[in-house]
Symmetry: C2
Subunit: 231 residues, 2 copies
């Protein structure tokens, strides 16, 4: 039998130019945690546009309305640029982090945790193309997929948030529940190629990947920002 | 060098109670196909609510406005029930399919292809908990993750759409481009458990998974429908 679930409040900030899978991969997993509520929040409630250009999401809640949560999850994408430049938002991230059970990020979301001062001296990960930027915030980059340092968990690029979320589901509940969510979402990955990391990808694939960019260009480069905007 | 990309029009119908990752996993991959445009369409343009309850998506285009596309991708979730009961929509699926390069589905989206009469006699897949329903439409269910039969491609539950989309990206372009998208999205999956398929999950995990349900209950069971609404 499943014990009566503890209520778990999970908050995911979405700003314009967010990378869809960064946010929706973990949302899909974490929404099935018994007792969990996932809330998207933003700066100005209303429609938030993704970086791929076709997924305007209605976000009814401003982040300033949220005073505490159990899990804070910062997705990446072009949105990280506005986030790291927004002192009010970074202050909110710091205050919220003080009361979370877990503070987490996907992809360039870790740069936001870094800009908020939460990764200083910690080992962390991010999208493979944003490693130097992560280290500019005092973190020690490691090319692992999911890195846990106490209650701070960072994950690598875009799709890594799914792996992070399954681990997080286990931390919030138990292994069997997390495994059941993995089965329900049939997360038995069988990618057709084995080129999903820089270590595995041939040079021509890396070159082609560096030439990709989101269909919707995020705002122009501002410091600190990587040359492009990996998810 | 990358050749000048062919324009590729990809259409994904979203109805209320769609399963987020069914749609957004493939969207994340396919939007990076050079020359591709991904459009979400729906029955009545406006906000479409997902089955997990926190992701209202603004969909500005009615499916009836679309007369043809290169790729049709039907996601699953509780939304399949309304889709299989909507004769107008099924007629549109059939007409659109006549002109596609690829007609595809994720999860219970294959039941919609079945209801439209497109899977009769074909081998196909779906969410593990919807196999009998798929066969009720004359398809031969196989517990594979991605099944291609000519220009019809079905994929298994929820997360399988990512694997399908990477394969589809290769079919639409070339292997190196698909591999580059896989690298850009850092799709190097490392799930913490190996319980993502019925064949691998212990009985207690299967039992726990069968007890899960989406936070937002879809409409009551209507025939033909599985006992619950696997994504």
């Amino acid at each position: 039998m499943v014990a009566t679930p503890r209520r778990t409040d999970i908050v995911i900030p979405l700003f314009d130019h967010f990378e869809p899978l960064d946010a929706i991969g973990p949302y899909e997993i974490l929404a099935y945690v018994p007792g969990a509520t996932v809330r998207f929040v933003t700066a100005e409630p209303g429609l938030v546009q993704d970086v791929l250009g076709s997924l305007p999401v209605h976000v009814p809640t401003g982040y300033a309305e949220v005073e505490q949560c159990d899990v804070l999850l910062i997705p990446g994408g072009g949105s990280f640029k506005a986030m790291v430049d927004d002192a009010d938002f970074l202050g909110w991230v710091r205050r919220t982090h003080a009361g979370t059970r877990f503070t987490t990020s996907v992809c360039t979301g870790s740069l936001v945790l870094g800009a908020a001062g939460l990764l200083d001296g910690l080992t962390a990960t991010t999208h493979w193309d944003a490693a130097a930027d992560l280290e500019s915030y005092g973190a020690v980059y490691t090319p692992e997929r999911v890195v846990r340092q106490g209650r701070v968990i960072t994950s690598a690029g875009v799709s890594s948030g799914i792996d992070m979320a399954v681990r997080l589901a286990a931390l919030l509940t138990d292994d069997v529940t997390a495994q059941a969510i993995q089965l329900y979402t049939e997360y038995d990955p069988q990618p057709p190629f084995d080129t999903g990391s820089v270590a595995k990808a041939p040079p021509e694939v890396l070159e082609r990947a560096r030439a990709l960019s989101p269909p919707t260009s995020p705002s122009p480069r501002r410091s600190p920002a990587p040359p492009r905007s990996p998810g």
